[in-house]
């Protein structure tokens, strides 16, 4: 596959050219944190970041997503008929996404694109987007991507992998979509073998820096019910205040709620992020709540990611080790500790 080199000075020119035909999104510094935003100009792009505070999942699954609009006007012959609102179709390039965050899209794909149902909103956004990932040379102390099956230079969910090498970036196409993007780039030169070698070395070094706080393999064979009934949940849940920070910052948490909002005689049907941490998420119309207790909700989040997902899809876990929940949990519930307990509770075959 095509590999090109772009010097740091030339990168803005490349971005400018991409912006002519695509919507280009990238990490932008906002105050003290970074966030993925549509770039207004090439210089907004700031690649000197460890990772964004919010995961880029809202690029595919916006927190508020208006799906349909309808009229309730009595004299409107089409009153009450849902009309689909336009979907994302414009081509987008996401520059500088971390390999872990891109991997998260792939993990969430199994939920939105299945044999029986293909979510048109998710799929449209996914298809319209080219992911240019930036390999991670300075993982945070809270990162554990390699423990959950991805890594700082994992290109498996990317279209292009960018590696910062001396003087610039090596851009390696991973998919055909990526190759098409890199072709005919006057700002670039073709990469030399030495560059590719240097990039590989950087990737290996980076992977070594990532901590591996637990081993997940034993979890696969552990019966769900045993983990479900484990005693340690009581301890894990104590500190939890049931806010939605972990789920809202998580790149793989996909749960949502559908709500109609009516103003006057018009309405909109919205898809909104929801979270298993909130009691309302599971409240039935009857008033019964199968997860009325904090313990049940806390357990659900970890079990979903590390057990149910794995068992259901034979893949995963549904965690990419970005460490956001570790850094931002207001009461320091550390997923690394919890998963270590989950796997330690396994009776592992020696």
């Amino acid at each position: 596959m095509l590999k090109i080199f772009v010097s740091k000075d030339n990168l803005p020119r490349l971005v400018d050219r991409l912006m002519a035909d695509n919507q280009v999104l990238g990490p932008v510094r906002e105050g003290e944190a970074y966030r993925f935003r549509a770039l207004k100009e090439a210089r907004d792009l700031d690649l000197n970041f460890q990772n964004t505070r919010l995961s880029p999942k809202d690029l595919m699954h916006p927190q508020t997503d208006p799906l349909f609009a309808y009229s309730l006007r009595k004299d409107d012959p089409e009153a009450g008929i849902l009309k689909e609102l336009p979907r994302q179709t414009a081509q987008r390039v996401v520059l500088g996404i971390r390999p872990c965050d891109a991997k998260a899209f792939q993990l969430v794909d199994v939920n939105f694109v299945t044999d029986t149902y293909r979510d048109p909103w998710w799929e449209a956004r996914r298809n319209a987007t080219v992911l240019v990932g930036l390999g991670c040379t300075q993982p945070c102390s809270t990162c554990f991507c390699t423990a959950v099956g991805t890594g700082p230079f994992d290109s498996s969910a990317l279209d292009v992998l960018m590696t910062e090498v001396e003087g610039g970036y090596l851009l390696a196409a991973v998919t055909e979509k990526g190759e098409a993007l890199l072709q005919d780039a006057p700002e670039a030169q073709s990469a030399t073998g030495e560059m590719a070698e240097a990039a590989e070395k950087i990737a290996l070094e980076a992977a070594k820096k990532v901590a591996k706080p637990f081993v997940i393999d034993p979890l696969k064979d552990k019966p769900q019910t045993e983990l479900f009934g484990a005693e340690f949940w009581e301890e894990v849940q104590f500190a939890c205040i049931n806010c939605g920070t972990c789920t809202y910052l998580c790149p793989t948490c996909w749960c949502f709620d559908i709500q109609d909002e009516v103003q006057g005689d018009r309405g909109v049907r919205l898809r909104l992020w929801d979270a298993c941490m909130f009691p309302l998420f599971t409240l039935h119309g009857s008033g019964h709540n199968p997860r009325s207790q904090k313990l049940q909700r806390v357990r659900q989040r970890f079990m979903h990611k590390f057990k149910y997902y794995v068992d259901k899809y034979g893949d995963g876990p549904a965690c990419v080790g970005c460490g956001r929940c570790v850094q931002y949990c207001p009461v320091n519930i550390d997923i690394r500790r919890v998963v270590a307990m989950m796997s330690a509770s396994c009776v592992c075959p020696t």
């Binding site: 208006p66 103003q263 006057g264 018009r266 909109v268």
Partner: protein
């Protein structure tokens, strides 16, 4: 916007201010028709949610009226209400809501002329403040249907 008329939601307590409105009616007192009355059992029943909901649904002003202190049908409901209103009004103004949009009064059921008088005052003050837009929701995604609905709601003149 020359045709614009302010819309005011008035929460009137059942025992005093609502009676005053009634008396104003049977006494043929004139007051502007910009007021939509919602009858509540007591001014103590007013929850800040009601006031925000009124603004969210397009009210340009909110007026809450109850019995004079000491005259509450429930003995002390309006005393509690008075404390709540003091803090609420101050908080809303502090966060940037025009003080001209929020009004409180004590009007007994015998004070029909005070009712008409305060109604005029409230309407004129809100009129001077102009249409309230701060709490009218428009989805940032700017879907045509939604924006249109809001515009129509605002333009609606009764």
């Amino acid at each position: 916007m020359s045709e614009w008329e302010p819309k005011i939601v008035a929460f009137l307590c059942n025992w005093c201010s609502y009676g005053a409105a009634d008396l104003a009616g049977v006494s043929r007192l004139q007051y502007p028709a910009n007021i939509r009355v919602i009858r509540v059992p007591c001014s103590g029943r007013i929850n800040p949610k009601f006031i925000l909901a009124a603004l969210r649904h397009g009210a340009d002003g909110v007026w809450v009226s109850g019995c004079h202190p000491g005259d509450c049908h429930y003995i002390e409901g309006n005393y509690y209400a008075r404390r709540k209103f003091a803090l609420l009004k101050s908080l809303l103004e502090h966060t940037g809501i025009d003080p001209r949009r929020l009004h409180f009064s004590w009007i007994s059921s015998a004070e029909a002329s005070k009712f008409a008088q305060v109604a005029r005052e409230v309407v004129e003050t809100v009129r001077a403040a102009g249409p309230s837009r701060h709490f009218i929701k428009t989805l940032p995604q700017g879907e045509a249907a939604w924006g249109q609905a809001t515009a129509e709601l605002q333009a609606e003149v009764v």
